[in-house]
């Protein structure tokens, strides 16, 4: 058996996505939350490429490419926002950014 | 399968040995050239003409006290030079030095591995090499080292963009990412090289300038200059780890010079066809060097040179004869042309270091984003229009 079953790739992708969701929900540091989002996007990329292999088409690779571009743009703007928030509040804990709460 | 593994291991051993020697002697060449630019002799005491100076430097660095300060972040502190030099050496593994040769019945390339995304591999490995410097700055737990490391990494990633776009232009002409096929499309003489026939002179210059910045060389070496920021990211490093950063810098220099040769100057192809006598060029150059050395050996200005100049003369004449042996010619001539072109670009690196002052950091970053990147993009558009019109 020198072939890896396709379902193993999909399971790995599900595991990474679940860990990303766990990090997003449980962590308090805003940069770690951001990194969990990137982990989720990577898991989705793996799924796209796996299905592209299974259906023998190149479209999955292209969607991965677009997801990477969007993730890069989002990281750039998100990190700029984080820097601005840190300049104003001197904290990276998302529990303390609650001035719009009633 | 077995023969493939054995041949690959032999090639790895040869390339590693040659690369390490070249790194050591590249430093000797740099010191001699900069010294002669500044009208002074450079190292000449240790061994004839300072040729054993790299050995003395290695002994000094190895026997220096390897100090690890107590306040550093130990895992990252130890991993950073390792990462820098691993990535620098890894990118040599896809550089082709010559055509396919046949040794004792086995056909093999003069290259460690031929990837069909060779250009992307070199770019990927140099992107990861940025982390070595960033982590060195962070792990040192020192404000100056951190600032130096961040400045250096920001400079490297900023100049990666014009470099990549400058690489894209000859790729449009050669139509392949495979480094061996890239040289194959430039075969046939100097008028087929991407620099001349493809008209990629602007790309070549942008690539070289970006390469200066990628390898942290003058005029872009503000983050690691000794009189700025207390020596930047390698402030807290001593002996072999410090040596590792410098070996990484020289290995990166060799890689970008080799990439420039492969992309723009036709790799290992001779400038004109062998049947018009390009096989005589290396012989002529080495014979000339040998006769000049012998001539100066007759009445040398320094007494010690009465022995060394004739010895060098005989060695050079021997190498000149070596280039004429027909059995060796098939692989030693391409190797000579590749080494000559890469060596010319390395000489340009050293020449610029001896000549230009360094940029201030904001001038450096403004130059990348406001000048080099638009120029590279315009060149890419012009090349694309040219390729579309002529095809």
């Amino acid at each position: 058996m020198s072939e890896v079953p396709v379902s193993w790739f999909l399971t790995l992708s599900a595991v990474l996505f679940a860990l990303g969701v766990a990090g997003f929900l449980f962590r308090r540091n805003i940069i770690t939350v951001f990194m969990s989002i990137e982990l989720m996007l990577n898991a989705v990329n793996l799924t796209f490429v796996t299905f592209s292999y299974q259906l023998k088409q190149v479209s999955g690779h292209l969607f991965t490419f677009f997801v990477m571009v969007v993730a890069a743009a989002e990281a750039a703007v998100g990190l700029a926002i984080i820097l601005t928030v840190f300049k104003n509040r001197a904290t990276l804990n998302i529990d303390e950014m609650n001035s719009m709460k009633d | 399968m077995n023969a493939f593994i054995v041949i690959s291991l032999i090639k790895v051993a040869i390339v590693f040995a040659v690369l390490m020697t070249t790194l050591a002697y590249l430093q000797w060449v740099e010191r001699k050239v900069i010294a002669h630019i500044q009208v002074r002799p450079g190292p000449y005491r240790v061994g004839p003409h300072g040729l054993l100076q790299p050995l003395a430097d290695v002994i000094k660095l190895v026997t220096k006290e390897d100090l690890i300060p107590s306040y550093v972040n130990k895992p990252l502190y130890l991993a950073a030079p390792f990462l820098a030099i691993t990535m620098a050496l890894l990118s040599i593994s896809v550089i082709p030095f010559g055509p396919t040769i046949e040794v004792a019945g086995y056909k093999t390339w003069m290259q460690l591995t031929d990837l069909n995304i060779g250009v992307l591999f070199v770019l990927a490995v140099s992107s990861i090499g940025v982390y070595g410097i960033a982590f060195a700055g962070w792990a040192s737990n020192n404000k100056y080292a951190l600032l130096g490391g961040l400045r250096s990494s920001a400079q490297m990633i900023s100049y990666e963009l014009p470099m990549t776009i400058a690489i894209a232009a000859p790729l449009l002409i050669s139509n392949t990412l495979d480094l061996r096929m890239l040289v194959g499309t430039q075969a046939g003489g100097i008028w087929h090289w991407n620099l001349i026939r493809g008209g990629q002179i602007v790309s070549f210059i942008v690539f070289l300038i970006a390469a200066f910045a990628e390898t942290n060389r003058v005029p872009f070496d503000l983050p690691e200059a000794e009189n700025e920021l207390v020596a930047g990211f390698h402030t807290e490093y001593s002996s072999m780890k410090f040596a590792a950063f410098f070996m990484a810098e020289y290995a990166n220099m060799i890689t970008v010079s080799a990439m420039a040769t492969l992309l723009f100057l036709g790799g290992w192809e001779a400038p004109w066809d062998a049947k018009y006598g390009s096989g005589w060029v290396p012989t002529a150059i080495f014979a000339l060097a040998g006769f000049v050395a012998l001539y100066h050996g007759i009445n040398p200005p320094r007494k010690r040179d009465r022995l060394t100049f004739p010895a060098f003369g005989v060695v050079f004449l021997g190498i000149a004869v070596l280039f004429q042996i027909p059995m060796l010619q098939e692989w030693i001539l391409p190797l000579f042309w590749f080494a000559a072109k890469t060596g010319a670009i390395l000489f340009a690196f050293i020449w610029v270091r001896g000549t230009l002052p360094r940029f201030r950091y904001d001038q450096l970053m403004g130059f990348a984003w406001k000048f080099l990147l638009p120029v590279a993009m315009l060149n890419l558009v012009a090349t694309a229009l040219g390729v579309a019109w002529l095809a």
């Binding site: 072939e3 940069i31 984080i82 601005t84 | 990927a124 992107s127 990412l177």
Partner: protein, 166 residues
């Protein structure tokens, strides 16, 4: 051989991903995330996606993560304090997660017949030529729109990073 490679890099990816979520200092999380991206790049090579693997290392691990590392080093906010969580959540959380993922793995396994697995060389359409051809013919509109998106992101980042002129 392919199975061994997959298992090695999948285990590295999962361990690094757990590390991203569990570590208290953001720089350790960032290094672990670089590890995840590197092992995913190897898995893409196994799936015949060589251009995507190179793009993953150049763009994701080599540029986006460098941005993260810069911001963490510049802000230097230090370790995160772990506040108390309810005991019930800690007791039930990880076993429930493992049970859920195990169920998902079993269901996914039911869909695929044996013999249609992944091996090196099973898909050769991931070369740069194939991607370029598809990108500039079928997917031209998304390509142009993402380039405008990147332009908007650049302008946004420059505006946010500017010093306020008072």
């Amino acid at each position: 051989m392919d199975v061994v490679l997959f298992l090695i890099f999948a285990i590295i990816a999962v361990v690094c991903a757990i590390n991203v979520v569990v570590q208290t200092h953001p720089i350790s999380s960032a290094i672990s995330l670089i590890g995840v991206m590197g092992s995913l790049a190897v898995l893409y090579l196994l799936l015949g996606a060589e251009f995507v693997a190179a793009a993953q290392v150049i763009v994701y691990a080599g540029a986006v993560m460098v941005l993260f590392v810069f911001v963490i080093m510049l802000l230097n906010a230090g370790r995160e304090t772990v506040r108390g969580r309810s005991f019930m959540v800690q007791l039930l959380g990880v076993p429930l997660l493992i049970a859920f993922l195990g169920l998902l793995a079993w269901i996914a396994g039911q869909f695929y017949k044996p013999g249609t697995g992944v091996h090196f060389g099973g898909f050769t359409g991931g070369s740069p030529i194939a991607i370029g051809r598809a990108l500039f013919t079928t997917y031209l509109l998304p390509f142009e729109i993402t380039s405008i998106l990147v332009l908007i992101a650049i302008v946004g980042a420059v505006v946010l990073g500017r010093k306020e002129m008072d």
